[in-house]
């Protein structure tokens, strides 16, 4: 079989690999590093050099994983899916009971050289396991019935509840969004979709009252009315908005951002990294990053639609949704459109678990792209 007049055997490594994907991810990496340097080198920063160098280490490791993933046939991974899913669930259980407590949540397993966050890798495992079972569902016709959905729901709720328990509302919600996107993609019956939405609306007050912690409720309050408590809970939200807005059109310049350098911004190197960028590089910089992300999604969708099989397509859709929802919630929160939730911005925020997971996911997409011509 040939496409565009070329024979499969003539295609070398460089033309099979998706260079657009690599270029876009790399661009975001570089922007991320420049920005992280500024965020970690303020006048009062501590451990400055270590954080920045750590990130470079994570990036290097991330790209290694990316290329390893690219060259592994994802159909081979398909056979291991159940195993890694179960291992990951056990890791979550372990964390819930023996994990390191940081900022009021138990999220980590200390591996000494690295603090492993099982909820982060769970996002990928969930994508894989759902993709594996959803290939048998038929997107033609009316969509999945309640019976079709039962098993996927179980696979989704187990890690969701374990993550909620840590408590890590942000990641739990992210699992829901990623899983939901995949189910939606494969098609759900309209009647069930409506029922779920209604059920969700009813459940919301119940969750509000019983499932959420005080600090989580506060975040929502302050989102609705941030000025009610400007020094307390609304502080982050206001400071972030001031940071973004004060960047104006061209920004204040590299390392010149008063909001970030003088530490008005909390969590500058992780959750609020985009505010640092917006303050120092202004509207121009903010839009540039946003556009790069949009291009990345477009490339991903295109790769998905040209995948050689359903499993590949579903993986790409899952990983893209992972990337999209992180970006959506993080930037939405930073620019004051969404409440403050602890979700990092992929490829830009500091963090080992996040960086490695993202790069592994991008590697999976690359793997699908690599095999798109091998029909």
């Amino acid at each position: 079989m040939s496409i565009g007049g070329l024979n499969v055997s003539e295609r070398n490594f460089l033309s099979r690999i998706d260079l657009r994907l690599i270029a876009l991810v790399f661009t975001l990496n570089v922007i991320g590093l420049i920005n992280l340097f500024s965020a970690t080198h303020g006048p009062h920063s501590r451990e400055v050099e270590t954080l920045f160098i750590q990130q470079i280490v994570w990036l290097t490791a991330g790209w290694t994983i990316f290329f390893v993933m690219t060259f592994i046939d994802y159909l081979w991974i398909n056979r291991l899916v159940w195993f890694i899913y179960i291992v990951n669930v056990f890791a979550l259980v372990y964390v819930d009971f023996f994990g390191k407590v940081v900022l009021g949540g138990q999220r980590w397993i200390d591996l000494h050289f690295f603090r492993y966050q099982p909820s982060e890798t769970m996002k990928l495992c969930l994508i894989l396991v759902l993709s594996k079972i959803l290939i048998t569902r038929n997107p033609e016709g009316p969509g999945m019935s309640m019976r079709d959905l039962l098993f996927p729901f179980v696979l989704l709720f187990v890690p969701f509840i374990l993550t909620m328990k840590q408590p890590d509302l942000g990641t739990a919600m992210m699992l829901m969004l990623i899983g939901g996107t995949l189910l939606f993609f494969v098609k759900i019956r309209k009647s069930i979709l409506v029922t779920l939405v209604v059920l969700g609306a009813v459940a919301l007050p119940v969750i509000w009252k019983y499932a959420l912690k005080d600090y989580q409720r506060h975040r929502v309050y302050t989102f609705i009315s941030p000025d009610s408590d400007p020094q307390g809970k609304g502080y982050n939200s206001i400071q972030s908005r001031i940071a973004v807005g004060s960047g104006q059109f061209f920004g204040k310049g590299f390392r010149q951002g008063t909001q970030s350098q003088l530490e008005f911004l909390p969590e500058r190197h992780t959750d609020f990294i985009y505010s640092v960028l917006s303050e120092e590089w202004g509207f121009v910089g903010s839009i540039a990053v946003l556009t790069t992300f949009v291009f990345l999604f477009l490339v991903c969708f295109e790769i998905a639609s040209r995948a050689r099989d359903k499993f590949g397509a579903l993986i790409v859709v899952g990983v893209s949704s992972y990337l999209f929802w992180h970006m959506f919630i993080n930037i939405g929160m930073v620019i004051g459109l969404l409440p403050i939730v602890g979700v990092p911005l992929p490829l830009l925020s500091y963090g080992g678990s996040g960086m490695l997971t993202t790069m592994a996911g991008m590697g999976l997409i690359s793997s699908v792209a690599y095999r798109r011509y091998l029909f």
Partner: protein
């Protein structure tokens, strides 16, 4: 097969029409974000920029005052004084050149240097890091800077705290000094103190001595002050509504904990006064018999107060090239030949080993031939027949050569190590030297050579491989005085927080009683201690004792003088007058003693470097220190004794410098 099924491309096409909502959602999101960014950054940008600039709260560090260091009576040894410092925040500088031209001369700096300093810091630490231009401003400087401050945004005069050392040169190596942390130190200290403490640029830390050793305990916790400032860094009353609602409250610094030492300021001052009066180089340590250090000083010394301002390179250069090393804490960091002060240890070994008894008479000619070499005494004609009392009183070399031959190195090693020589005393100070007490095994392992019989002779008079720190000598002599009790000397009595709560307290501790058998199977009987104690009492009180000329009225001291060569001399140089040599070639003099002779309260070790003799060089200082101690704690004894005999201090000065009077190695 299943894998064949999932890799069916036709199936993948089923999804093709499912992507549309995704494209739409991404596009809508991007559009909404884009609009929001425009709203914030372009439409509201100016207002928000104003918020970020005009309504800025500046955080500045309020340095916590370091804890005081006081003596055993609570009198200040190290304290804090208020002062002023000049600071500049680079981000507010409008015209660097004119600023440098006008500010630099006031603080005594080249304008070009100031410009360079600011540019370098900006490059290194970013524009928001404040730069300390000068500490410890004079009133004149404060006045002149205040007058021009408004013309140069970013320039500030802040109150600061200056560490003050009222004793100045006295005990400077013990108390140490403070200075601004260096980049290397930030890294090192942050690694060492990881979770509990963190240091940053601009911090003042202890650089040596107790200031360094007690850093963690006395540094306190810095506070933060939040000041609302305008775009020029000046404190303002805002016209624009305050986005923070109200002023954020300052975090007050927590005063560092105070340390109370075992040092007695009066004894310390007397010791220093005596050293200065005699113009001596060397080390002094005075200890209570339970191990509490009373005085500790080294000479020459430096004034630690110079480090609180910028030290001039000239002063620094002079101090660091001084051949007598003013920064060394010689009391524990340097070890020396003990010379004749080693003889009491050999005497104890010989008595315990039954080489002699207190009745044994030994003939001591002017020299002793051993092998094919003559070993000299410092008295050309010898001392005739001596028992152990006479031998120590007159400090006969030949007597102890004979003891050395009879005992051998390893017997001496086993007994003398009981008294702590060759081991660190364990005092809570950094960089203590262990000194050296040789054994044949040590020589074999270290130098790969057999122990030579001749070396037993040199060892027996405290030369050759033997070395000890002044503190080790004090502890070992204290062991003789207390008849077998080895104590662990200490200097920090307690640490209290700013409310007076005791956080840490140390009590005297006896390490071992060597009248009981020790792990190496050796002990020294109380009766033998009594013999040596009596002999050492005679050193200071007997008719021919080497230290008889220096007395504390009403109190008997017991001790031993010693002289340590600084180098070997050829035969014709041996009898040359020590004082005729250049200073760096003169012998070190030792005197180590305790009082009262029968039941010691205080033990003092003085090493007077290049003073030629232990008696004239070191004994007067020991006397002055013990006298100061008695004046303070038992004034009635001294008063009464002086009433009876006004010359009770024994102020006579012997002529020790006549040619032939002294042989290198002894008094």
């Amino acid at each position: 097969m299943r894998t064949q099924y999932i890799s069916n491309p036709e199936e993948a096409r089923d999804f093709l029409n499912r992507y549309r909502p995704f494209y739409i959602f991404v596009t809508v999101t991007a559009a909404v974000f884009c609009l929001r960014l425009m709203w914030l950054q372009i439409i509201n940008g100016r207002e928000l920029r104003q918020y970020s600039e005009k309504n800025r709260v500046k955080q500045t560090k309020i340095m916590a005052p370091r804890g005081l260091i006081v003596d055993r009576d609570g009198k200040a040894l190290v304290e804090n004084l208020p002062g002023f410092e000049a600071i500049i925040s680079p981000q507010y500088i409008e015209d660097l050149k004119t600023l440098s031209e006008n500010v630099a001369p006031i603080i005594g700096l080249e304008p070009a240097k100031l410009t360079e300093k600011i540019i370098r810091s900006k490059k290194l630490n970013g524009p928001f890091s404040m730069i300390r231009l000068k500490d410890n401003l004079t009133r004149e400087e404060v006045f002149r800077l205040k007058r021009i401050r408004l013309d140069y945004p970013g320039l500030e005069i802040r109150e600061s705290i200056i560490r003050y050392y009222p004793l100045r040169e006295d005990g400077a190596q013990l108390f140490g000094y403070v200075g601004e942390i260096s980049k290397k130190e930030i890294e090192k200290l942050n690694k060492k103190n990881a979770p509990d403490l963190s240091f940053e640029q601009g911090d003042i830390i202890g650089k040596s001595g107790l200031e360094e050793h007690l850093e963690k305990k006395i540094r306190g916790e810095d506070g933060v002050s939040f000041v609302q400032v305008d775009a020029h860094g000046r404190q303002t009353v805002t016209e624009i509504p305050n986005i923070y609602g109200e002023q954020i409250k300052d975090i007050e610094p927590i005063h560092g904990n105070s340390a109370m030492l075992t040092i007695d300021r009066d004894v310390q001052l007397a010791a220093y006064e005596s050293m200065v009066k005699m113009n001596r180089i060397g080390a002094v340590v005075a200890m209570k018999s339970n191990g509490e250090i009373l005085a500790w000083l080294n000479s020459p010394s430096f004034d630690p107060n110079i480090f609180t301002t910028d030290v001039s390179t000239k002063v620094m250069g002079k101090l660091s090239t001084d051949p007598f090393k003013p920064f060394r804490n010689k009391v524990i960091q340097d070890h020396f030949w003990p010379g004749s002060t080693f003889k009491p240890f050999v005497a104890l070994s010989a008595l315990q080993e039954k080489v002699i008894t207190d009745k044994t008479i030994v003939s001591t000619p002017g020299q002793l031939w051993f092998g094919n070499r003559a070993f000299h005494d410092h008295n050309k004609n010898g001392f005739g027949s001596l028992d152990i009392y006479g031998a120590l009183e007159k400090s006969s070399n030949v007597f102890f050569y004979k003891m050395g031959i009879a005992l051998g190195v390893d017997k001496m090693y086993n007994y003398i190590s009981l008294m702590g020589l060759g081991q660190r005393t364990g005092i809570e100070m950094d960089r203590e030297a262990p000194g050296r007490l040789p054994s044949s095994e040590w020589k074999k392992a270290r130098l790969g050579e057999e122990w030579q019989p001749g070396e037993n002779l040199t060892m027996a008079i405290g030369q050759g491989y033997v070395t000890a720190t002044p503190l080790q000598m004090a502890v070992a002599y204290n062991t003789i005085g207390t008849e077998g009790k080895v104590v662990k000397p200490f200097i920090v009595k307690k640490v209290t927080d700013h409310e007076g709560k005791i956080l840490f307290e140390r009590f005297p501790a006896e390490v071992r009683d060597i009248t009981l058998p020790q792990p190496n199977g050796f002990k020294i009987d109380r009766a033998n201690f009594k013999i040596v104690k009596e002999a050492m009492r005679r050193v200071a009180n007997g008719s021919s004792g080497t230290a008889r000329h220096w007395k504390v009225p009403g109190v008997e001291m017991a001790g031993k003088t010693g002289t340590a060569q600084v180098m070997s001399f050829s035969a014709d140089q041996i009898y040359q007058s020590c004082a005729a040599r250049p200073i760096q070639m003169r012998h070190h003099g030792w005197f180590v003693a305790w009082a009262p002779a029968d039941k010691p309260e205080i033990t003092v070790a003085v090493l007077a470097q290049h003073s030629c003799h232990g008696n004239t060089g070191a004994a007067p200082i020991v006397r002055d220190i013990i006298e100061a101690y008695y004046k303070k704690y038992h004034p009635e004894i001294i008063k009464e004794a002086l009433k009876k005999n006004p010359n009770a201090r024994g102020a006579a000065t012997p002529d020790n410098n006549k040619p032939g009077g002294s042989v290198g190695g002894d008094d």
